[in-house]
């Protein structure tokens, strides 16, 4: 026991040192049972530190790229913009003609900084800002056009088949719409006997979960996603290739026309309920019919979304068009200065001519 303890201590003390356990010189190789009990499999072989570090690196890269992927195109663009354009161009600008003049070219560096820092990110942040304003005023503006169409179509189906009392309660309407969405999303699915109602109730409940706390809402979205994945996997008819894709509409051949993910549907449904359904319940019933109201609000949100997008395009365009006035520090560009310097050097000739 004492010897085992000592050997264990030896292993602990040498764990940070790269050792070849297969080497005949290594006395640890004579204690295989101790090794298998106390040391993990993948840190036993030669270069154990290297292999576990590689695993850590792989995990780190996977997590980082996963984060970039979840954020979408604009994060990828900002990353490329910052690393490949902003930083290198500023550095190259600062070093422009430095071998000829012997000085840092601050003018060129500043111009590059002004141009690159303001142009790329503005193309991302201005549109995001405009749509955020629209979203705060009308949450349903954030819903993609095709999804909005399907939600409105589902709402219309609910209105046509519901009594007047149900149309005055937001909760009832939410549950009815969620129920119809289940029928749309899982049409053609076959479940075990008795499971259909349980799965439907679980779907409706999960979709209607709500919270004012942002972190809690994220957890509820993940919970809804888990419910959808579970439903997808229980399909007896066919094993789904993508359990995180909900198809809300398809054509005659079965090709998806409107698809979304569980998390996106959860978010869109919240926005739809908060904006459209609540306004529907509070509407003046004498002014217009329920279906007219739904159609009108759907069109209005659609055009607001399109308007925000057009406004983003125009705002970015206007900013970029006037941007040169900000970064152009003088009447002579760094390019022109380089050209003049090159000619001057060529005129002088000698060692500097070919630089």
């Amino acid at each position: 026991m004492e010897k085992v303890k000592q050997d264990r201590m030896k292993i602990t003390s040498t764990s940070k040192v790269k050792i070849d356990v297969n080497s005949q010189k290594n006395n640890l190789a004579t204690q295989p049972t101790v090794l298998s009990n106390t040391v993990k499999r993948d840190s036993v072989s030669f270069g154990s530190g290297t292999i576990s570090n590689l695993d850590k690196m792989k995990t780190g890269i996977t997590k980082m790229m996963g984060s970039i992927e979840r954020q979408g195109f604009f994060v990828e663009f900002l990353l490329v913009d910052a690393i490949s354009m902003i930083i290198p161009r500023i550095i190259i600008g600062l070093g422009r003609d430095s071998e000829k003049t012997g000085k840092i070219n601050y003018k060129s560096g500043l111009e590059e900084a002004g141009r690159e820092v303001l142009s790329g990110p503005s193309m991302v942040f201005i549109p995001a800002g405009i749509l955020e304003v629209a979203r705060r005023l009308q949450p349903a503006t954030n819903i993609p056009r095709e999804t909005m169409k399907e939600l409105s179509s589902t709402f219309e189906d609910v209105v046509k088949t519901s009594d007047a009392a149900s149309l005055s309660k937001t909760k009832d309407l939410n549950e009815s719409i969620a129920s119809k969405l289940f029928d749309k999303a899982f049409a053609g699915f076959k479940f075990k006997e008795g499971e259909h109602k349980t799965l439907k109730d679980g779907f409706v409940e999960a979709l209607n979960n709500n919270s004012s706390d942002k972190k809690e809402l994220t957890k509820l979205a993940e919970k809804f996603e888990a419910v959808v994945v579970s439903i997808m996997n229980k399909n007896i008819e066919k094993t789904p290739q993508n359990t995180k894709q909900i198809i809300l509409a398809q054509d005659e051949k079965g090709n998806a026309l409107v698809k979304t993910s569980p998390k996106e549907l959860f978010e869109d449904f919240k926005n739809y309920s908060k904006d459209v359904i609540e306004k529907f319940v509070k509407r003046d019933v004498a002014k217009e019919t329920p279906l007219d109201f739904i159609k009108k609000i759907q069109d209005f949100r659609k055009w607001t979304r399109m308007g925000a997008s057009v406004a983003s395009f125009a705002a970015v365009g206007a900013f970029l068009w006037h941007l040169p006035k900000i970064y152009q520090l003088s009447n002579i560009s760094p390019a022109q200065e380089s050209a003049m310097l090159a000619q001057e050097c060529a005129k002088k000739g000698g060692a500097n001519e070919n630089k």
Binding site: F74, V80, A128, K234, T243, P324, I332, S338
Partner: protein, 299 residues
């Protein structure tokens, strides 16, 4: 006179409902102006905006070259030329914008197919259509983590991987060294693999357990799924960050080195008047060197 003899009887009309120019699908107004989830412009709209406004502003608002203000020599018609800043804008920004917007997905798709075939892990959205790109991280999680709710169990799980184009022996062997050893006699063909596995219930159970949670096959697939994007970003960074700027400066220097310097005019061609030390707005033949001298003086 009837020129067009085509009639409705002999003119073939396109009855194919699919639009011929599918590549223009993204340029339909509805799709073009549909913002992304985070509120950003679509890639196509982003590209249009960048070329029209970003490039347009840099080009048309660049500072005019001094020699374009000089009078023509010997009454020859003045050649229109672009300034150095304009040249640099074109050389630098036309490819940069295209590469910055489309570079990463372009290179990502090229590499994804190579990795998919080499390592046997299904990472493409559609194995028959590599241009659709790489599957998302959450999709990879579904494909490589066994869910107990999956109807049909490990058989359906493996069938799905087979349909996605994975090499089942390679994927399953990555779970652990023990399982790899036990699968050494299995066939490389997926259908034979599934058949033989179904005959060994103990091994089937072991593999089912191994596929649950954060298993090694999932980790490997997740890593392989990120490599095309990492490669795409690296190549894009190298092209935009290093290649294009260096090329730009080099071309500007070479173009202007090749030109005769304004004060390198032969003595017999030099004007009789001595050049005056005026500012950059002076339109004499020695304006360029004077402007440079003025610039150095200001500096």
């Amino acid at each position: 006179m009837k020129i067009n003899k085509a009639t409705s009887l002999n003119v073939k009309t396109n009855t194919n409902k699919n639009v011929a120019f599918k590549s223009l699908g993204d340029f339909h107004p509805n799709k073009l102006f549909e913002p992304q989830r985070a509120g950003n412009m679509s890639r196509a709209l982003f590209l249009i905006n960048a070329y029209v406004f970003l490039l347009g502003a840099r080009f048309f608002k660049s500072r005019k070259v001094i020699e374009s203000n000089q009078p023509s020599v010997n009454n020859e018609p003045k050649k229109r030329s672009i300034s150095n800043e304009q040249r640099e804008t074109l050389i630098r920004d036309i490819p940069t914008i295209l590469i910055a917007v489309n570079g990463v997905p372009f290179f990502e798709k090229k590499f994804a197919k190579v990795l998919h075939d080499k390592y046997g892990f299904a990472i493409l959205k559609d194995k028959n259509s590599p241009k659709d790109g790489v599957a998302s991280g959450s999709q990879i999680e579904d494909w490589y983590k066994f869910d107990e709710n999956l109807h049909g169990g490990i058989d359906k799980f493996n069938q799905r991987l087979d349909e996605l184009g994975a090499d089942l022996k390679k994927v399953t062997s990555s779970l652990s060294e023990e399982i790899k050893g036990k699968l050494s006699t299995f066939s490389n063909k997926n259908d034979e693999f599934i058949k033989k596995l179904s005959e060994n219930q103990d091994l089937k159970k072991e593999i089912t357990e191994a596929f649950k949670g954060e298993n090694n096959a999932f980790k490997q697939a997740s890593f392989l799924q990120t490599i095309p994007k990492v490669t795409g970003i690296a190549i894009t960074l190298a092209l935009i960050g290093i290649g294009i700027p260096k090329l730009n400066i080099f071309i500007t220097e070479q173009v202007n080195k090749g030109k005769k310097p304004t004060n390198a005019v032969k003595p017999e061609e030099q004007p009789k008047q001595q050049p005056s030390m005026k500012t950059a707005q002076n339109s004499s033949t020695n304006e360029k060197s004077q402007a440079f001298a003025a610039f150095l003086k200001d500096k």
